[in-house]
């Protein structure tokens, strides 16, 4: 018999909310010195890079090629010209789908 999951789900919700609301509230109340403000404005770039590069580098496809690499190159190329997330996403997804269809992945 499966144990009751609701208390666990509520616990997960509580700790997740703790990572959301208090920092957001504090961030609006604490006056940061200029250098820290500059650092915080750089933060998204580091987060974006960390969301993109390691999952591509460590991706394992069903067959021997890491198809995320060409997909990421396609997304990058389109991003360089359009500077917009939607066309970049579509280019990466289309490239991946095409390669998988071609390679029978």
């Amino acid at each position: 018999m499966k144990p009751d999951l609701y208390p666990v789900i509520l616990g997960m919700a509580a700790v997740t909310y703790l990572t959301r609301f208090p920092p957001l509230w504090l961030g609006g109340r604490v006056g940061f010195p200029p250098r820290v403000r500059r650092g915080l404005s750089f933060l998204p770039i580091g987060a974006f890079a960390a969301m993109v590069v390691p999952p591509v580098a460590f991706h394992q496809e069903a067959h021997r090629f890491n198809l995320y690499v060409p997909a990421a190159l396609a997304a990058c190329l389109v991003a360089l010209f359009t500077r917009k997330p939607l066309p970049s996403m579509l280019a990466g997804v289309a490239c991946l789908a095409a390669l998988r269809a071609f390679l029978g992945g």
């Binding site: 957001l24 609006g28 404005s41 987060a47 969301m51 917009k84 997330p85 970049s88 996403m89």
Partner: protein
């Protein structure tokens, strides 16, 4: 010159801010939807009830930790372990809140408490890019949050109910949607050689951290690296 994220950001002309936020989320909503389907399918396969599946999506609303929880339930992990692991996976959001907070300054606390629930990777990224170019307030962030929440909850439900009929939601390459959309956001922000260097340095640290500590810490490590580089390269 603290706002480094300016040109090429989504436009918010005469549109209502809530709609602008939701609209700018569209490239991300698609990927969120695809992952939500997978979550719903896996939750059902892990013999969660519909109520458990949906309350997790609505109340926890954090993709990576929900997938991790499913895996831990499967292994029969203790509840406390699942909660602690969730905290670890979501710690990066502390950094998001601190950096986004100043842009939502002055929002009434109950309103902010509600908006906070919509803080995820995608809404944070979209909002930070928009906030740097134009005045962006609680309305915009509400739209961005809903642009993540609505597809996640809807697709969790669809995945659970239609498991077995939908086939693999990733067969059209949609597993790459998240990375592809963030690639666009990242490249759009690389407006100077310094920022290219910051991105490269952060990516390198994230790769090393992923290799040695696993994926739970890599995003926080990359974000902190960029923040630190911003502090040390600032004019005294």
């Amino acid at each position: 010159m603290y706002n480094i994220l300016y040109e090429g950001a989504p436009r918010m002309t005469a549109t209502k801010p809530v709609w602008a936020g939701a609209r700018d989320m569209i490239p991300f909503s698609l990927g969120i939807f695809a992952y939500g389907i997978v979550y719903g399918v896996l939750a059902r396969a892990g013999s969660l009830t519909l109520g458990e599946t949906m309350s997790m999506s609505a109340l926890v609303f954090a993709g990576a930790s929900q997938f991790m929880a499913l895996a831990l339930f499967q292994q029969g992990a203790a509840g406390l372990a699942v909660v602690l692991a969730t905290l670890v996976v979501n710690l990066r959001q502390v950094l998001y809140g601190i950096s986004l907070g100043p842009h939502l300054k002055g929002t009434a606390r109950p309103k902010l408490a509600l908006l906070a629930h919509g803080l995820v990777d995608e809404s944070y990224g979209v909002a930070m890019v928009a906030c740097a170019s134009e005045a962006c307030g609680p309305g915009y962030f509400l739209g961005a949050g809903l642009g993540a929440f609505a597809p996640w909850v809807a697709s969790s439900l669809a995945g659970y109910l239609l498991a077995g009929f939908l086939g693999d939601p990733f067969r059209f390459g949609l597993d790459f949607a998240f990375i592809g959309a963030f690639t666009g956001l990242l490249v759009s922000q690389l407006r100077s050689r310094l920022l290219v260097g910051v991105a490269a340095g952060s990516a390198l640290v994230a790769v090393v951290v992923w290799h040695f500590l696993g994926s739970n810490w890599s995003i926080a490590a990359g974000a902190l690296t960029a923040c630190l580089l911003g502090v040390v390269t600032g004019e005294a």
